[in-house]
Symmetry: C2
Amino acid sequence: MSEGNILAMKSSPQGMSGLAQAEYEPVLMELISEWLDKYSMGAKLQVIACGMVGSQQGWREAGYTPIPSSPSDVDVTKPHVEDARIDVSILAGLSQSEPSDVMRGEETQIAGFFAKNAEFAGLICMPGTHSKWAFLANGEVVKFKTVMTGEMYSIICDHSVLRQLVNKNASDTQAFQKGVLEGAQDPELLLSNLFSIRARSVLESVNSNASAAHLSGLLIGTEIATMRKLMPSDTIKLLGSGVLAELYAEAFAVLGQSITPMDVTELTVLGLHKAWQNLTKEKYLNVS
Amino acid sequence: MSEGNILAMKSSPQGMSGLAQAEYEPVLMELISEWLDKYSMGAKLQVIACGMVGSQQGWREAGYTPIPSSPSDVDVTKPHVEDARIDVSILAGLSQSEPSDVMRGEETQIAGFFAKNAEFAGLICMPGTHSKWAFLANGEVVKFKTVMTGEMYSIICDHSVLRQLVNKNASDTQAFQKGVLEGAQDPELLLSNLFSIRARSVLESVNSNASAAHLSGLLIGTEIATMRKLMPSDTIKLLGSGVLAELYAEAFAVLGQSITPMDVTELTVLGLHKAWQNLTKEKYLNVS
């Protein structure tokens, strides 16, 4: 197991938004029950967890390790477990004091990224509900910035005056690219560019797929332009999966930069393995 | 009546968001019934209407008059009315083609502003759910820009990850002023400055009144800085009422500009009177 090979994988949609604190252990045990005898090799099965499971509304609050820090060297919190066959470690997130920022889960993706690119120095972009941009060097997170792009797209589509004009999650390459360029050209005009989408749909006939794609492009273009200006770097990597990562890759391309997304599921597993190695090393050090 | 004196005023909370098309006339008649004999002077009572009553979801769509235009010289639409004692004219809004923008209702406030300041040349700020900034000269609206500030404040407070951290509409002068400065300093960083409010509340103990005021200041500071840069002018007037106008006046003061808000209710009445004069003039011209 120390080689980090994946022997089995499972996933469940159940998470922080739907689970009470006391429900985490039973949900986990049901998910991994068949692994208990198979992989425990007579000892307790080590469970390493990251992400919102360690938030205040999660299983147990795991805090934040201040940067600069190696992303695989974060603090660990152990929730009380009833079942003696498992030992659970929840990884802390990372925090930055000036300007205030936090991440939780992404630090493990970054640890996985460093496992594959130990010498990397530059900027990484991790698209999401709250996109994270981090400047990495010497195996550490030097600084980072969260951008509320995905969440803004969602609440604008669902709750703003644009809601009747946009077909959420629709795609339209041309409208998306136009939005990216508009956002990148004048990122400070975001709050008025948003209204232009409504004005255009009132004055011209713009269909709701195009309006949604334009909105998406506008937000992503605004994000990329702003972050590249804030943390200039010749080297940028994109860590993401699925449709969202493809949209960001397209936006980067429109802005003149060809980037292939790196799959975050793979990076997360690598990061968890790295954290497990660190925990084991600590145990051996304590024993010797 | 041609002098524009106010003989009586009434208001009702009923409007576009709650009325079907067929309900406008009965609601209006109930409101003004006692005026019909009193002020009609034997002729039909002239009713001049502006704002969302002329939108697609209003009483009857009144279109938009393209700028550059005198704000009191907009097109007029007459909805069909059942009651022979009234004659209703709905004023069109103003539209701009590049970049696309529309206003509806604010043109009448601007007409009222010109009635008091005929020679004005400069920028005006009209705070609201969708704030309008307009550059005026020679009695015309030369260009304008809508900023979705108020609506963003509202949907962020109600629907975003910040919703549990902010006490909507709370005030906290210090936090508000800090937000204004932060927004004005880096208006392009709005989407990440929003997340900083969450990060600060996670890392430090920030109360929900301060977080709400900070959010409000951040959005308004971002708006003011961006619009002043977009439409530079030595002369700025603030047209607004109530708490919102006071907040904007405070934000302008924080950014080094002392501006006393002009009451929009008064300006709207002046603008409606101006429109009525134009309509009457047309009638006489048609007759002659």
